[in-house]
Every structure is written in structure tokens, then in C-alpha cells.
């Protein structure tokens, strides 16, 4: 009898699996020290990102948005309420963010490097452009490097949890690198000095993953 209760509880839990789930962080909370501190990583991943996912699952349930992929939601963003825009963006953006950070040093692929050179001159000018985009974003938001519809690299920024995939974005494209400039991303270590955080984050960029995303984006 007790076994049966336990068994049915387990089945219920399994069938009630939510549509959107959080992938494991590909490194430990302390892996990006000293550039991003361990406490920030833990709160950012377990509270902020996890919060967007649980709010998103609640928001889509029983609505026309239920069952749609993130990219499908983004391409029809104007049809859905802000709660879906904010939380779908919050989920996608953080998922991308964790993947483009790494404690292991890597270099951009020759293809990405040559696209960076033709779009911005060199890697340092790209970093400068990204840092400016992040610094100028008033309030909360993101700085992005994306492949635009013509296959060219472009730097932009979005407010709050918007991203370049959204039909509502000013500059559209497929993001290959995103930097979170919400204060929660840097306040514990850098306080008001967003510029110091932006300068430091280049020490932990996963260029291997950015290059992979670049090659993928070109195929689309």
C-alpha cells in the first residue's frame, strides 16, 4: 500500500514535468572567480534564471503560447502578454549566457575572427563596441553580438529581458554572444562600476562556444 502511494506520487511528478527546464550549469559557481564571484553565480543561476523558468511555465499554461518553442514565441512576440516576453527572454538569455562563459581559455575560430575583422576591425574593437553597448544601456538589459539577416555581425543592446530574436527588437539577428548588464549580474563584486564588470568578463568568454554559435547561425 505504502509502496503504491509512493509509486503513484512518482508517476504524477514525472508526468507533470514542466515544458521548460533548466540545464545544469556547465561549471561550478566558483569557476569564474575572481571575475564573477561565486555568490553572484549561485543566486543568478538558482534564483534569477530558475525564477524566469518557473514563471514562464506558469504563464504559458493553458494559453495559446503553450507548447510553442522559445524561438517560435520570440518570432510572434507581439501576440503574447509581457509576462511571456519577460520570462521567455529571461530563460533564453540566461541559458545562452552560461554557455558563452567558461573558466577555460579558448580562441575565436578563424571564420569568426575574420568576420569580426571585416565588421569591426579587430577583436579589441569588438570588445570596445560591446562594452559601450552594455555601458549605455540605461536600467536593466543585455549587450549582444548577433548575426544579422544578411549574415553580418552586429553589436546591439536590448532593454530588460528582450533579445535580438524577438520580433519587437530594434536590431534583429541570431545572438552568438550576450552579456547580462542587469545590476544583479555584477553588483555584489562591482557595485556601481558596470564598466569594470564589462572589462573583466572578457577573461571568461567561451570563444569556442561563441564560434560554434556563429557557424550555426550562418547556416540559418
Amino acid at each position: 500500500m505504502r509502496f503504491w502511494i509512493l509509486f503513484s506520487a512518482l508517476v504524477t511528478a514525472m508526468t507533470a514535468t514542466a515544458q521548460f527546464t533548466q540545464a545544469p550549469l556547465p561549471y561550478s559557481y566558483s569557476a569564474l572567480e575572481p571575475y564573477i564571484d561565486s555568490q553572484t553565480m549561485e543566486i543568478h543561476y538558482t534564483k534569477h534564471h530558475a525564477g524566469y523558468i518557473s514563471n514562464l511555465n506558469k504563464a504559458v499554461k493553458g494559453t495559446p503560447a503553450e507548447g510553442l518553442s522559445l524561438t517560435a514565441l520570440f518570432s510572434r512576440m507581439g501576440e503574447f502578454p509581457d509576462v511571456i516576453r519577460n520570462n521567455a527572454g529571461g530563460h533564453y538569455n540566461h541559458d545562452l549566457f552560461w554557455s558563452v562563459l567558461s573558466p577555460e581559455k579558448s580562441d575565436p575560430s578563424p571564420e569568426l575572427l575574420s568576420a569580426v575583422s571585416s565588421a569591426f576591425g579587430n577583436l579589441d574593437s569588438l570588445k570596445k563596441r560591446m562594452n559601450e553597448a552594455g555601458a549605455k544601456r540605461f536600467g536593466s538589459g543585455w549587450a549582444w553580438l548577433s548575426v544579422d539577416p544578411n549574415g553580418k555581425l552586429v553589436v546591439s543592446s536590448t532593454p530588460n529581458q528582450d533579445n535580438p530574436l524577438m520580433s519587437v527588437a530594434e536590431v534583429k539577428g541570431i545572438p552568438v554572444l550576450g552579456i547580462d548588464v542587469w545590476e544583479h549580474a555584477y553588483y555584489l563584486r562591482y557595485q556601481n562600476k558596470r564598466g569594470d564588470y564589462l572589462a573583466a568578463i572578457w577573461n571568461v568568454i567561451n570563444w569556442k562556444e561563441v564560434s560554434r554559435r556563429y557557424a550555426e547561425a550562418l547556416k540559418k
Binding site: 543566486i43 540605461f138 536600467g139 536593466s140 532593454p159 530588460n160 542587469w182 553588483y187 557595485q191 556601481n192
Partner: protein, 197 residues
């Protein structure tokens, strides 16, 4: 005549343990101060240089080419208003005419508090929640980033800053706890009553 940073109306440690000295040190000394510095750099050698803060805010509001002016000027105003919206040993239910007005316009203090908490919690990203007077009635509103009641035909009565920098050191991601603490221990109802006039 440049815009100046007003001193905090209490000591930096006066709101502890609810809001720490460290938070006020950064929030007033760095954030508020930076808005003042940025604004002065923007208005230097222009005809706005001699204008008062409200005149600057109203004259650039809604002009996309003056977004930097608006953001910095409004944030100077908002922060000064926020410091005054708090005091040591504040919070709880107001009294007198203000309480009567709140009860008349919201039904009860509890209903006001519930609406204020919802507005402050649901302002997505950076911004503010407000108690305002509009057309003679009190109401609760929220604004994004630097936006403020005076450019929406409303008179500000009370505000809470819900930019993450206002609460991250003391409350981390727990914005609802910060808002509850503000209402229970910090609100300066004397300031709100004076604004009601």
C-alpha cells in the same frame, strides 16, 4: 548654476539594520551623485544650465534626442524624493488626514499596502513604485527606469526605488522582502502627508 547633490536627510547608518550603511553609501554617494555629475555635464553651456530641476525634466520629457538629459535629471529628482520617503523608525500605518484619505480612496490601509507591494514587485527590470495624487484621488503606480509622475499629470506623494542597486546588498534577489521592510519600518508618512498638502 549647476544642479547639486542634496545631503541625505539622516545619517548613513540611520536606516540600519533595514537598509545598511553600505547600501546608502553607494546609493547616495555613487549612484545619486553620478546622476548629478552626468546631468551637469550634459547641461553645461546650454540654456538649461540655469534652470531648476523640474523645469529641466519637463522640458526634455518625451524628446528622444534628450533621453540622456531626461534619465539623469529624473533620477536626480527621484532619488532625493526617495530619501525623503524614508526615515529611521518609520513605517506602519499612517495617521490623521492622510490615513482618512487613504481609506477613502483605497478602502483601507491594507488595500493600499497590497496594491503598493504588487506594483513594486511587478515593475519588471529597473524602476519605481509610487503613491500619487491624480485628479484629487490617491492611486498606486509604477514607472520604468527614470520615469516619474510629474510628466504624467500626477503629483508624487511617496516612492520606493526598485532598481536592484537599492536592495541587492541587503536583500539579494528578494525584492518582496525589501518592499515589506520599507512599508513596515521605513516609510516617512510625515513627508507623504506634507506632499498631500
Amino acid at each position: 548654476m549647476a544642479v547639486t547633490l542634496p545631503a541625505l536627510p539622516y545619517a548613513k547608518n540611520a536606516l540600519a539594520p533595514h537598509i545598511s550603511e553600505e547600501t546608502l553609501d553607494f546609493h547616495h554617494g555613487k549612484h545619486h551623485n553620478a546622476y548629478v555629475t552626468n546631468l551637469n555635464n550634459l547641461i553645461k553651456d546650454s540654456d538649461l544650465d540655469s534652470a531648476d530641476l523640474e523645469t529641466i525634466i519637463k522640458s526634455v520629457a518625451g524628446d528622444p534626442s534628450k533621453a540622456g538629459h531626461f534619465n539623469n535629471a529624473a533620477q536626480v529628482w527621484n532619488h532625493t524624493f526617495y530619501w525623503n520617503s524614508m526615515k529611521p523608525n518609520g513605517g506602519g500605518k499612517p495617521a490623521g488626514d492622510l490615513l482618512k484619505k487613504i481609506e477613502a480612496d483605497f478602502g483601507s490601509y491594507e488595500e493600499f499596502a497590497a496594491q503598493f507591494k504588487t506594483a513594486a514587485t511587478t515593475q519588471f527590470g529597473s524602476g519605481w513604485a509610487w503613491l500619487v495624487l491624480e485628479g484629487g484621488k490617491l492611486k498606486v503606480t509604477k514607472t520604468g527606469n527614470a520615469d516619474l509622475p510629474m510628466v504624467h499629470g500626477q503629483k508624487a506623494i511617496l516612492t520606493i526605488d526598485v532598481w536592484e542597486h537599492a536592495y541587492y546588498v541587503d536583500f539579494r534577489n528578494r525584492r518582496p522582502d525589501y518592499i515589506a521592510t520599507f512599508l513596515d519600518h521605513l516609510v516617512n508618512w510625515d513627508f507623504a502627508a506634507a506632499n498631500l498638502g
